[in-house]
């Protein structure tokens, strides 16, 4: 079983962001970076899939990331968790068009002989949730998106997808692309042994063949602050006032 996992380096979302002076990127000073949340679940799902094989050593998990040189840290982190090798698709300028990014990823994946290509459902920063499906179409592979359960049986992917208030059971033949939602598995932590081993694992650097950008970022802004909250009272005695405000002021009751 040969598995590719596409991962992205993103800033920690718990911190307060500032817009950089160019107006189209975040000021990176003081930010911490790590694997995007859903991509972390995808790495974990890939590692567990490999470990479940009759002969895990015959399987391979390859992690791939597109971006400037700093993404190599993220690739090393994934290798410290257990990925076997890494490919860095070097691209020094930020790209926002999912189609243009997918073009570069598909060019790398094509002919790679992967049984399974995994993505996080979306990256937590740009939150487009489009790259995985476009890559699948460019490769001509079936794709199941946003899966919360993954089973592999007789050369088929059997998955569950959460919908609003419902879920779907869905399957397709392999090779296939899947994008991973939360709920599959909690990512493991790197061990000291894993961190040491990751330093020696192969990391190949190639230029990214990014497509033409037809979706361009013009600017970033911080959202308008919500008007300061108002505490209307304490305990159950405040309920009548709340109901009055919902009726008369907010007009939602």
């Amino acid at each position: 079983m040969k598995i590719a996992v596409l991962i992205k380096r993103v800033p920690d979302m718990d911190l307060r962001f500032k817009i950089a002076s160019n107006g189209t990127s975040v000021d990176e000073s003081g930010l911490k970076f790590d694997i995007s949340d859903f991509d972390g679940y995808a790495v974990e799902a890939a590692l567990q899939t490999k470990e479940k094989q009759a002969d895990p050593a015959a399987s391979e998990v390859v992690v791939i990331s597109l971006g400037p040189d700093v993404v190599q840290e993220t690739l090393r982190k994934a290798m410290s968790l257990g990925a076997d090798r890494a490919i860095h698709l070097k691209c020094d300028t930020p790209v926002h068009d999912s189609y243009a990014i997918a073009t570069a990823l598909a060019a790398e994946l094509k002919g790679g002989g992967y049984d399974l290509v995994m993505f996080g459902r979306m990256s937590i920063d740009t939150a487009n949730q489009s790259t995985g499906p476009i890559v699948a179409e460019l490769l001509g592979l079936p794709i199941i998106t946003a899966i919360s359960k993954l089973g592999l049986e007789g050369g088929r992917v059997k998955a569950r997808r959460e919908l609003e208030g419902s879920y779907e059971l869905i399957e397709c033949p392999m090779p296939a692309v899947v994008t991973i939602d939360e709920g599959i598995a909690r990512p493991r932590y790197p061990s000291l042994k894993g961190i040491m081993a990751a330093k020696k694992k192969p990391l190949e650097v190639k230029p990214a063949q990014v497509g033409e950008e037809r979706y361009k970022l013009d600017k970033m802004e911080l959202p308008p602050e919500r008007a300061a909250g108002r505490i209307i009272g304490e305990g159950k005695d405040a309920v009548p006032e709340l109901v009055r405000l919902l009726k008369e002021e907010a007009k939602v009751l």
Binding site: P11, A127, Q129, E137, I144, L163, G165, G235, V239, V252
Partner: protein
């Protein structure tokens, strides 16, 4: 001649129209009114789906493309994407609207790739010009608003649920029966069943009111109080924080937040929720926010329009009774 018509994908599930369908048609109507073109809404499903066409006409569909085929009774992503792409590639469309629901998030990028077009995803505001489309899309868990320009003959957009509210604008809605671009049974990706989650009467993507519970409820049995308040409203769905879904008090699909559902209801009532960044990311765009929490320093009060400091277990039954009373008078 420039493209003037506008395409809208009308989402349905298990033979029922989704609110997303009306939102997509309403968005398309607004654009078609400025380009002077027609709105073509596409509806796909099993036997009888065509009966829903009138609802699309009421929101402004000039033409309803009806794909009625047992192979579409469950969501059939490959056959649907091929059929929508064939329609868009035939030309004449300035824009194509999808809603960024679970289904739309899956379908829209498939269509974009088949048409070799770029996509603007999860859009909250848009303006369609002759040469370019400008959009806003919140990123970084809602902490940064990104503005983009999309350049394509046909602009493919998925709109965040609730970004456009369904509006009446009656048009003829002439029904045109269409066929699938590929044999639906030849699709490699097959949805074998669509299962409604237990207890979910109204879902988070559709409900105008959401009552949501956090760890302040202290134990899973107390979630009943949240459900009771939702029931008193009658048009409310129940949500939860990640702490609660991690504990298994509620299913994962109920989680509102950075890694769960992003919602913008008219009214959001946060019960025993402290307001972790992870949770705020999923609900801060709600129109009116009410917070009930014991800790008056809790971050949820910073985003709440109306806050009550106190124990949810004590306040919820009183609020439920008051809402019932108010609904009776309405």
């Amino acid at each position: 001649m420039a493209n003037t018509n506008v395409f809208a994908f009308a989402e349905s599930r298990s033979g029922e129209l989704r609110r997303a369908a009306l939102e997509a048609v309403t968005a398309a109507r607004g654009v078609a009114d400025s380009t002077g073109g027609q709105v073509h809404a596409m509806l796909a499903g099993g036997a009888g789906i065509g009966a829903l066409a009138a609802k699309l006409a009421a929101c402004g569909a000039d033409v309803v493309l009806v794909l009625e085929n047992p192979g579409f009774a469950n969501y059939n992503p490959e056959a649907l994407a091929a059929t929508v792409a064939a329609r868009l590639s035939a030309g004449g469309y300035r824009a194509a609207f999808f809603i960024a629901s679970a289904q739309g998030r899956d379908l829209a990028p498939r269509v974009a790739a088949k048409c070799q077009l770029p996509i603007a995803a999860d859009v909250t505001e848009f303006s369609v010009g002759a040469d370019a489309v400008t959009v806003k899309h919140p990123g970084y868990t809602g902490k940064i608003i990104q503005s983009f320009t999309l350049r394509a003959a046909t602009a493919i957009l998925s709109l965040r649920p609730g970004a456009v509210l369904p509006k009446e604008s009656a048009k003829p809605g002439t029904v045109e029966q269409i066929t699938s671009a590929i044999d639906p049974s030849s699709a490699r990706v097959v949805v074998t069943s669509t299962v409604r989650s237990e207890g979910a009467k109204l879902d988070l993507g559709e409900a105008p009111v959401i009552v949501s519970g956090g760890r302040g409820l202290r134990e899973s049995g107390n979630f009943k109080l949240v459900e009771d308040l939702a029931a008193a409203f009658g048009n409310a769905a129940v949500g939860a924080t990640r702490a609660v879904t991690d504990e298994g008090w509620r299913p994962h699909s109920d989680q509102i937040g950075q890694t769960g559902r992003l919602v913008s209801p008219q009214l959001y009532i946060a019960c025993g929720i402290s307001g972790a960044i992870q949770h705020l990311a999923g609900m801060r765009t709600s129109k009116t926010i009410v917070a009930i929490n014991r800790d008056k320093e809790a971050p949820i009060f910073k985003v709440a329009d109306y806050g009550i400091v106190g124990d949810v277990l004590e306040i919820l039954p009183v609020l439920t009774a008051a809402v019932k009373e108010a609904k009776k008078g309405a």
